[in-house]
């Protein structure tokens, strides 16, 4: 058994070498397919974390009219907390809001100056409400708008956040769809090209195969080299695709790290690299075997 595998492996490596350009074509197309698939995986992972980050940052701020007392607001706070979809609420008093505002605008003397000129505290007390699920903000705002304390509420700032989230969601969804389509198309092309390569290999080896049959080689012995050839395509392509992906990541790293993603893209990629490589290997080997198998089924009459 090991003998057979050893011999056929040797045979397939020789085939791979002697087929030169054909092998290069097969490997490069499969590499491209796996590269697109890998990039898609990274994109999905990055977008997942980005979305999670953004979702964590969103909340609904409910601002109260200046004449609403703190006790009333605390009552409303506990009322909101009893609402099932609310994860947490945080009370920000007028004073704290002023302090925060001053802190945030410490570098803007004009603003601080004008604040002083107004005198007193123009800011409103507010409740920051976070939901369990970003899709529930709609319900929460509706609940607030119809609640018994609706007359105390000055305004609810949710709408503009909602637009950003919706846009992000749809962009990510579109990107995934396009990526998936690209990956599928390139996988189909890869299968066709490997299929063709193996077909030509089979033609080249026709006399040899005939002799093999006549001297009583088992079907497995005849087939294995072709299967191994497919596997070689898969392994090589996934390695190349990983290298390409690494280069791409390095290239776009400065544009994405720390702005969209809260940490370095490279670090993120490295943490996932072996997982992605593993999947690429699996897919590559599967595609290699799959296309070799159809070629054999069709052209290797044994």
């Amino acid at each position: 058994m090991f003998l057979v595998i050893g011999r056929t492996m040797k045979e397939s490596f020789i085939n791979f070498w002697r087929n030169g350009w054909l092998s290069i074509a097969s490997v490069s197309v499969l590499t491209l397919a796996l590269y697109v698939a890998g990039a898609l995986m990274v994109l999905m992972m990055v977008s997942g974390t980005v979305l999670a980050n953004v979702e964590n940052r969103i909340n609904v701020s409910v601002y109260f009219k200046p004449d609403v007392s703190e006790e009333q607001i605390i009552k409303i706070k506990s009322d909101l907390e009893s609402y099932g979809e609310v994860k947490s609420t945080q009370y920000i008093s007028k004073e704290q809001a002023l302090a925060d505002f001053k802190k945030n605008n410490a570098n803007e003397p004009v603003i601080l100056q004008s604040l002083d000129e107004i005198g007193g505290n123009p800011l409103l007390a507010s409740l920051v409400v976070r939901a369990n699920d970003p899709n529930q903000y709609q319900n929460i705002t509706e609940y607030i708008a119809n609640a018994s304390f609706k007359d105390d509420v000055s305004r609810v700032n949710y709408v503009k956040n909602k637009e950003i989230i919706d846009r992000l969601n749809s962009i990510i969804g579109q990107a995934r769809k396009v990526g998936l389509a690209l990956a599928l198309i390139s996988a189909a092309v890869a299968v066709l090209i490997i299929f063709n390569t193996i077909r030509i290999t089979i033609y080249i080896h026709k006399p040899e195969i005939e002799v093999m049959r006549l001297v009583g080689a088992s079907n497995m012995f005849i087939r294995l080299p072709f299967l191994f050839e497919g596997i070689i395509y898969g392994v090589l392509s996934s390695l190349f695709a990983t290298i390409l992906l690494l280069i791409t990541m390095k290239f776009i790293n400065p544009y994405i790290s720390n702005t969209v993603l809260s940490r370095s893209l490279m670090a993120f990629y490295f943490s996932q690299m072996f997982f992605i490589l593993g999947i690429q290997l699996l897919v590559g080997i599967f595609l290699g075997i799959f296309s070799s198998w159809i070629a054999m089924r069709k052209y290797l009459k044994i």
């Binding site: 057979v4 006399p207 040899e208 006549l214 001297v215 009583g216 088992s218 012995f221």
Partner: protein, 252 residues
């Protein structure tokens, strides 16, 4: 379920064959007819037996059905009617999967050699053993030995194109013998050779036969058949017109 039954049936047949081996001729053609689609029958009502250790020459013009008959023997084709038995087991019942094992009992020699051009004489012979799954040390030992026997001990490293026709055919013979087959099937082995080389090949076949291997030789050349001077089966238009032990073609 059906498959399992089939396999079991097959095993029964094999067991029967093994149990009563003495009784069965090596090959038995039982009223065999072979027709290819759209053509007249290539073989019709062929009925004869070949015993173990025999040297049988098949003779007939091109298209008389010699090659077809040999193909039935190595199970490349199956009979349209009737049945070919090998040691009592019907060949048409051989599973595709089991076919290689049947082939390993047969050594084949062809008019066009069918050597692998990119392999040396040694590698060509070793290849047959590799394909059967032989161990590496076995191969290293047996291959030079067999090449010595056919008289090519000093040309093991040569590629087919560096060898003469006769030498190439000897490599083929060595390849056919390397896995110690029960029977050698030679289809016009001298078709591409001059008389001197042809005689050498025939002598080698006779020698092989003397050592106990059954030989089935097909040829259209009466000199070859005369030289062998063994049982002759004459085929004409797909029919056996003469089956005579120890006969010369002329007499038939």
């Amino acid at each position: 379920m059906k498959k399992v039954e089939e396999i079991e049936n097959e095993n029964e047949v094999v067991e029967e064959a093994a149990g009563e081996e003495e009784k069965f001729p090596m090959f038995k053609f039982d009223h065999v007819t072979k027709a290819f689609k759209g053509d007249a029958a290539a073989l019709s009502d062929i009925d004869f037996e070949i015993q173990e250790g025999e040297f049988v020459t098949l003779i007939g013009h091109s298209g008389a059905g010699k090659s077809t008959l040999l193909k039935l023997i190595y199970a490349e084709e199956t009979a349209t009617e009737g049945e070919v038995y090998f040691n009592g087991a019907p060949l048409s019942k051989i599973k595709k999967r089991k076919l290689p094992f049947h082939r390993r009992k047969i050594g084949m020699v062809f008019q066009d050699f069918k050597l692998l051009p990119k392999k040396t004489a040694y590698e060509n012979v070793a290849y047959a053993l590799e394909a059967c799954g032989a161990r590496a040390d076995e191969i290293r030992e047996d291959v030079p030995q067999i090449l010595d026997i056919v008289g090519l001990g000093d040309k093991m490293g040569k590629f087919p194109h560096q060898l003469s026709g006769g030498e190439q055919q000897k490599v083929v013979l060595a390849r056919a013998l390397i896995h110690k087959p029960q029977v050698i099937v030679a289809d016009e082995p001298t078709g591409n050779l001059d008389p001197g080389n042809s005689a050498e090949i025939i002598d080698l076949l006779l020698k092989i036969n003397k050592l106990g291997t059954t030989v089935i030789l097909a040829s259209h050349d009466r000199d070859i058949v005369d030289r062998a001077s063994k049982r002759v089966i004459v085929l004409e238009k797909g029919k056996i017109i003469c089956d005579d032990a120890k006969s010369k073609y002329r007499v038939c």
